[in-house]
C-alpha cells in the first residue's frame, strides 16, 4: 500500500480587507472572541490575556503588529490559538482575526516566492504567496510574525511604569 503524501493545509482568514493564510500545523483551535483581560502598560498589539481552560494565554492584535489600525471587534471576530516555539517549549498565543474563511490544500508548487515589495508588510513576515483560485494570499511566516523575543522586547520597553512628570 502506498502512503498518501501529506498535503500541507492552510487556514485562510481575514484581517480588515486583506486575506492571509497560516499553515494549519501551527493552529490548535479557533475560539469565539470574548473574556479578554487587558494588561496595563502594554503596547497596543498586545491586546491582553484570556483564560483558555485554565491557562492564561496572551492575545495579539495582528493588525497592529502589521502596522494597520487596531482591529474593531465584530460579530465574526475570532481568536485563533496558535503554538509558537520558544526555547525548548511551545507556547500558546491567541491571534485576533476579523473572520475565519476556510481550510484548503495548497501544494508547495502553488506557493510563489514573496515579492520584493508591494505587500505592505515586513519581508520576513511573508513565507510566500499562495495562489488560490486565481488570487494571491499572503502565507505568513509564523515564527517571525509571532516572535516571542521581539514582542517581549517591545512590551518591556514600550512604557515606563512611572513616567517622569
Amino acid at each position: 500500500m502506498v502512503e498518501p503524501v501529506e498535503q500541507p493545509q492552510y487556514l485562510t482568514f481575514r484581517l480588515g480587507t486583506e486575506t492571509y493564510a497560516l499553515e494549519i500545523l501551527h493552529i490548535k483551535e479557533i475560539i469565539e472572541y470574548g473574556g479578554l483581560t487587558e494588561v496595563p502598560l502594554m503596547p497596543r498589539f498586545l491586546r491582553g490575556v484570556i483564560n483558555l481552560r485554565g491557562a492564561v494565554v496572551p492575545v495579539i492584535d495582528l493588525a497592529v503588529r502589521f502596522g494597520r489600525p487596531a482591529t474593531t471587534i465584530g460579530k465574526r471576530s475570532c481568536i485563533v490559538i496558535v503554538e509558537v516555539q520558544y526555547g525548548d517549549d511551545w507556547h500558546d498565543l491567541g491571534v485576533i482575526v476579523d473572520a475565519v474563511d476556510e481550510v484548503l490544500d495548497l501544494p508547495p508548487e502553488a506557493i510563489e516566492p514573496a515579492p520584493a515589495f508591494g505587500a505592505q508588510l515586513r519581508a520576513e513576515f511573508i513565507r510566500g504567496m499562495g495562489k488560490i483560485s486565481g488570487r494571491f494570499v499572503i502565507v505568513l511566516a509564523l515564527e517571525h510574525v509571532l516572535s516571542i523575543d521581539e514582542m517581549a522586547e517591545l512590551a518591556g520597553t514600550s512604557e515606563s511604569l512611572h513616567p517622569e512628570s
Binding site: 473574556g35 483581560t37 496595563p40 496572551p58 514582542m151 517581549a152
Partner: protein
C-alpha cells in the same frame, strides 16, 4: 540500562553520603565515648558505600583512596587508633578530596592528586599492627587460560567448593557491552566483598566464529564466592544492580545462611501477609528478585496457568526451599495480621507539581461553583458548596505543604562552613542556629544555599573582629555568628547575624566614591549606604583573603535573592554587629488574595501583605503630594489608576488598601474593594517578562483573568523613582543657582 543515568545516581548518592560523613565528623569532634563509635560507624559506612559504587564504574582512583579512608576508619572504630585532632583534620581533608574526585569524574577532568593524602592515611595504618592492602592490589587480575574454560582467580586460592560459599550464577545479557558495562568489572568488584573461590566460564552461548559480533557478550559465569563478614544477599545483589535488567543473576546462599534465614523468619515479630515480603525481610530474597519472580508469575497467569509464588521461587533457584517453607509457615501464622509501618514515600517532583496544578484547577472551579451557587439563591446548595470550599482549601494547604521543607535542610551545612572558615582565619567562632523548623518551598531551598554560605563567610571574615579587638571592646573572646529563620506576613525571613564590629558607613562611602559608584556629595540615607555593598565591584576588605574580599559575591547574592522575588535588608550597629535579613516569598504556587478594582480592571493583592482598608480622604484627592495621615503616622500612597494608566474616570469615593512589605508600609488607591479569594498564580509567560509591578495572573471564579500586583516591586520602584526625581531637581538647582527662578514652572 543507561550508563549515564546510572552515573547520575552515583554522583547524587556520593554527595549525600559525603554530607553524612561530614556531619559525623563534626559530631565526633564534639562527642566522647560510645557516641563516638556510632559516628565512626556512620563514616565508615559512607566511605564503604562510595567505594562500592565507584568500583562499579571502574573508578579505580576513588576506590583506592576511599579504601584507605575506610581502613583508617575501621581501625578507629575498633579502638586501635586514637581519635586525635590531626586525624579528624585529615579525615575532613579526605572527605573533601573524595568530593573533589567525584566532581572531577562528573566534569570529565583529571582527578586531583591523592598520593600525598594517601601517604598520610597509610602512616596511620602502619603505626598499628597490620597494614591493610590497597584494593588495587586486592582486585585480582583475571586471566584466561589458553584452551581451558577456566579462569584462574587469585593464584594460590583453594578451589574446594565448600558449603560455606555463596553460589552465584551469572548469564550476562547480549547487550551488556553495548550498554557500556564490562562484565569483568562486576566480577572484580565482587571480589572486593570477599574472595572468589572458584569461577567457571560458560561459553556454550558462543556462536560460530563467523557469526560472532565483537560487541555482543556471550559469556556466563558460575562463581563460588566466599563473602566477607557482614556481606548479605542484598549487598551481593547490589553488585549486579546495573545489569539486572537484561542479565540473569541468581544468588544462592551457603547452607549456614539458610539456617539463619529460617531463624530470622521464625523470629519476625509483626504480622506479615505476603510470602515474598517475609522472604525479603528474612534476607533470603532481595526486593528485585521478588519483582522478577512476580513478573514471571504474571506472565504465567497471562498464559492461563496459575502457579504459587513459592513453587516459582524454588524452580527459578531464587530462594532455598527450606527458607520458602519456613516463610510459608510464618505466613499462615500471621494470616490475619496486617503490616503497619511508617514509611517515607519518595515521589517524583514533577508528579507533585502535576498534583498542585490540579489542585489549582480545583480551586478555580470551586470559586466558579460558589459564584453560581450564590446566584441561584438556593440555601441548601450554597451550604453544600461552602463546605466543599472548605475542603478544597484544606486540600490546597495539604498539597502545598508537600512541597515545603524545613529550612534546617540548608542550615545543616553551616557547622562545617563556620568551622573551616574560623580555622582558616584563626578566629574563634561559635555558630547558633534558630528557627530550623521554619518551612519554605523546596525550590527555594536549593537557590538560597549559596547566598547564605557567602553571607556567613562574609560575617566571619569581615564582621567578627580579632580577639584582641574584641577584648578591648569588652566582648567575649569568641565571636558569635547566628542564623535565624521565621515567617512574617507571607514571607520567609532568614537572618544572618554576627556580634562583630558592625559596618563602617564612612569606609563604605569612601570606597563607593573611589569606585565611582556614587558621587562624593550624593545624599544617601543609612540603608542606602549599607546597600552599596551589594553593588557590583564593591569590596572594602583591605587584604584579599582566601574566603571573601574578591568583590564578587555580594552583588551575586543580591541578584539571586531578587530572582526569587525576595529582597535584602541590612541592620548594623557600629561596635555591636550586623544582621543581614533575606526575605523571600513563602510559595510560588497558590496564595490567599484580596481583590480590588480600578476601572474595568481587577487586581489581586496577596492577602498576607494587606493590613487594613480605609476610604481615601476626599481632601487629598487632587494633591500633588501622595501621603496621608494614618492615626498620626505618615502613610505614602500610590494611586493605581495613574500608575497603570487606566482610562476610566475615578469614582467619587476611592479606597486605600494599606499594605506592608518588610518594614515598609504604603497605601494603594483603588476604586472598589471586591473581597478575598484564593488565587492560583499563573505566570504571565515569556511575552510579559519585561512587565513591571505585576507578579503574575490568576483566574477568577467568573472565568475572567485578574492580575496579581507585585507589591514589593511597586513600593521599591516608587521610592527609587521619587529619589531620582528629587535628586535630579536638587542637582539642577545646584548647577544653575541663577536660573532657579526661571526653572520653576
Amino acid at each position: 540500562m543507561n550508563l549515564e543515568a546510572a552515573k547520575l545516581v552515583f554522583y547524587e548518592e556520593s554527595y549525600e553520603l559525603l554530607a553524612a560523613m561530614e556531619a559525623a565528623l563534626l559530631a565526633v569532634e564534639n562527642a566522647a565515648g560510645p557516641e563516638r563509635g556510632e559516628h565512626l560507624n556512620a563514616m565508615f559506612r559512607a566511605a564503604h558505600t562510595i567505594k562500592g559504587s565507584a568500583g562499579l564504574f571502574g573508578l579505580n582512583e576513588i576506590v583506592a583512596f576511599t579504601h584507605l579512608c575506610e581502613s583508617v576508619l575501621d581501625k578507629a572504630r575498633e579502638g586501635e587508633l586514637a581519635i586525635t585532632t590531626p586525624l579528624i583534620e585529615l579525615l575532613f581533608t579526605c572527605r573533601d578530596h573524595i568530593g573533589g574526585m567525584v566532581d572531577a569524574v562528573r566534569c570529565g577532568v583529571a582527578a586531583p592528586e591523592s598520593s600525598a593524602l594517601g601517604a598520610q592515611l597509610k602512616s596511620y595504618l602502619d603505626d598499628t599492627a597490620q597494614a591493610v592492602p590497597a584494593p588495587a592490589a586486592a582486585a585480582m587480575v583475571v586471566q584466561q587460560e589458553h584452551a581451558g574454560p577456566r579462569v584462574e582467580v587469585e593464584s594460590g586460592g583453594d578451589h574446594v567448593v565448600s558449603s560455606d560459599h555463596w553460589h552465584i550464577s551469572l548469564r550476562f545479557g547480549v547487550d551488556v557491552l553495548r550498554n557500556g558495562m564490562d562484565p569483568i568489572s562486576f566480577i572484580r568488584y565482587l571480589a572486593s566483598l570477599g574472595r572468589i573461590a572458584y569461577l567457571t566460564t560458560l561459553y556454550d552461548g558462543l556462536p560460530n566464529p563467523e557469526d560472532m559480533d565483537p560487541e555482543s557478550c556471550y559469556l556466563g559465569f558460575e562463581i563460588e564466592f566466599q563473602a566477607a563478614p557482614n556481606v548479605d544477599k542484598l549487598t551481593i545483589e547490589n553488585v549486579f544492580e546495573f545489569i539486572r535488567d537484561d542479565s540473569k543473576v541468581r544468588i544462592l546462599p551457603p547452607h549456614a545462611h539458610i539456617a539463619e534465614y529460617i531463624r530470622l523468619i521464625k523470629d519476625m515479630p509483626e504480622g506479615m501477609s505476603r510470602l515474598g515480603e517475609i522472604l525479603v525481610r528474612g534476607g533470603a530474597l532481595t526486593p528485585m528478585e521478588l519483582d522478577e519472580v512476580l513478573g514471571i508469575q504474571r506472565e504465567n497467569a497471562g498464559a492461563g496457568e496459575h502457579r504459587p509464588l513459592g513453587t516459582l521461587l524454588v524452580e527459578e533457584r531464587l530462594a532455598p526451599p527450606q527458607a520458602v517453607a519456613a516463610a510459608l509457615d510464618k505466613q499462615r501464622e500471621h494470616a490475619a495480621q496486617k503490616t503497619r509501618e511508617h514509611r517515607v514515600v519518595r515521589v517524583d517532583a514533577t508528579r507533585l507539581d502535576a498534583l498542585i496544578d490540579l489542585v489549582g484547577e480545583l480551586v478555580i472551579s470551586g470559586a466558579a461553583a460558589q459564584l453560581s451557587a450564590s446566584r441561584s439563591a438556593d440555601s441548601a446548595l450554597i451550604e453544600t458548596i461552602a463546605s466543599l470550599g472548605e475542603l478544597v482549601e484544606r486540600i490546597r494547604d495539604e498539597a502545598l505543604s508537600l512541597r515545603m521543607v524545613p529550612v534546617g535542610e540548608i542550615f545543616s551545612r553551616f557547622p562545617r562552613v563556620v568551622r573551616d572558615a574560623s580555622r582558616e582565619l584563626g578566629k574563634d567562632i561559635q555558630l547558633e542556629l534558630a528557627g530550623e523548623e521554619t518551612e519554605l518551598d523546596k525550590s527555594m531551598v536549593d537557590k538560597l544555599a549559596d547566598p547564605l554560605v557567602h553571607l556567613v563567610r562574609n560575617a566571619i571574615d569581615h564582621g567578627i573582629e580579632g580577639s584582641d579587638a574584641r577584648r578591648i571592646r569588652g566582648k567575649a573572646d569568641y565571636g558569635t555568628v547566628w542564623l535565624n529563620a521565621y515567617h512574617e506576613s507571607g514571607s520567609v525571613v532568614i537572618e544572618v547575624g554576627d556580634d562583630g564590629g558592625g559596618m563602617d558607613r564612612q569606609r563604605i562611602r569612601n570606597r563607593a566614591v573611589e569606585r565611582g559608584l556614587i558621587q562624593a556629595d550624593e545624599v544617601l540615607n543609612d540603608q542606602q549606604v549599607l546597600q552599596l555593598v551589594f553593588e557590583p565591584g564593591f569590596s572594602t576588605a583591605e587584604t584579599v583573603t582566601n574566603l571573601s574580599g574578591r568583590g564578587v559575591g555580594m552583588d551575586v547574592v543580591k541578584r539571586n535573592i531578587e530572582a526569587l522575588k525576595g529582597n535584602i535588608e541590612i541592620d548594623s550597629v557600629a561596635g555591636e554587629g550586623t544582621v543581614v535579613r533575606l526575605r523571600v516569598p513563602l510559595t510560588l504556587a497558590i496564595i490567599d488574595g484580596f481583590r480590588v478594582g480600578v476601572g474595568q480592571v481587577s487586581f489581586v493583592i496577596p492577602l498576607d501583605m494587606v493590613l487594613e482598608c480605609l476610604d481615601l480622604p476626599t481632601d487629598t484627592g487632587n494633591s500633588r503630594q501622595h501621603y496621608l495621615n494614618l492615626r498620626g503616622e505618615v502613610l505614602p500612597y500610590l494611586p493605581l489608576r495613574e500608575l497603570f494608566e487606566v482610562d476610566a474616570p475615578a469614582p467619587a469615593r476611592q479606597s486605600v488598601v494599606v499594605v506592608q512589605y518588610g518594614s515598609q508600609r504604603a497605601g494603594l488607591v483603588v476604586d472598589n474593594l471586591e473581597g478575598e479569594l484564593q488565587a492560583v498564580i499563573k505566570p504571565l509567560g515569556q511575552l510579559f517578562r519585561g512587565v513591571r509591578g505585576l507578579a503574575g495572573s490568576t483566574i477568577l471564579g467568573s472565568g475572567a483573568v485578574a492580575l496579581i500586583l507585585d507589591v514589593p516591586d511597586l513600593i521599591n520602584r516608587a521610592a527609587k523613582n521619587e529619589r531620582r526625581k528629587v535628586a535630579l531637581i536638587a542637582a539642577r538647582e545646584a548647577r544653575h543657582p541663577a536660573l532657579r527662578e526661571e526653572d520653576r514652572p
